[in-house]
Amino acid sequence: MIAAPAFLANPERFMAFSRWAAPLFGLIAVALAAAGLWLGFTAPEDYQQGATVRIMFIHVPAAIMSMLVYGCLGVASLLALVFRHVLADCAAQAAAFLGTGFTFLALVTGSLWGRPMWGAWWVWDARLTSVLVLFLFYIAYLALRASIDDEAKGARAAAILALVGLVNLPIVHFSVYWWNSLHQGSTMLTPGALAPVYAAPLYLMLVAYLAGFGSLWLIRIRGEVWRRRAEAAALRVARA
């Protein structure tokens, strides 16, 4: 478990690894998403929710990714703060951008599922509100980094904010158990809660989202490494 991150902590090794891993993860994501969408749209309508069950195949993976990516952001921020590791800071910055996208998707697709099922686009329910808070943490992280001219100071302040936001993750997950909620409990963690005809496309889409995130995360980290190299080179040229 420790060996892989330690191996990739070297920027040269990371760039060599990500060069082939990013397109490979991307291809896996496309193949799995195609299979998941095919199974999702050919699955029978649910006896209670009708065809809206098809929103589940894109909403649940987005919601899971919103929390998982924030976990990545938190771990990368901790490593960047403690070890002052440049790649960890690049990873945190890259994760924040993608996590904002996944959380936005969780909120919007959830709203589009909630309207026909609950009769409301939005309710100030514990789960929905805690996911909105998660979205605001992502936005605040990106805004804080962008608002401080000294990049090192901005990165440190944003990393501390990211660590504070980790407190929200268990609240998001357990909110449906701690408070009365319109939102259903965790279906994926309850054995037998989901019929195989729905479980298959859902798990395929979840792995597709995971692979897609893996690919985009590597691409964005590579971009950050190039940006810092370009800025260092520009400084050298200016001094020469």
Partner: protein, 44 residues
């Protein structure tokens, strides 16, 4: 396939496709732009 809920299902898939398209395009453009810039400066 989507029946009377088409007005909710298609927008959900549309927003998902659009968001992924933006994340992919922005990530690739960011990486390519800075790679080109770093390589140009390295040659100077």
């Amino acid at each position: 396939m989507v029946g009377k809920y088409a007005a909710f299902i298609w927008p959900a898939y549309g927003v998902t496709a659009l968001t992924f398209a933006i994340m992919i395009a922005a990530s690739l453009a960011h990486a390519r732009r800075w790679k080109r810039r770093a390589e140009d400066l390295a040659r100077k």
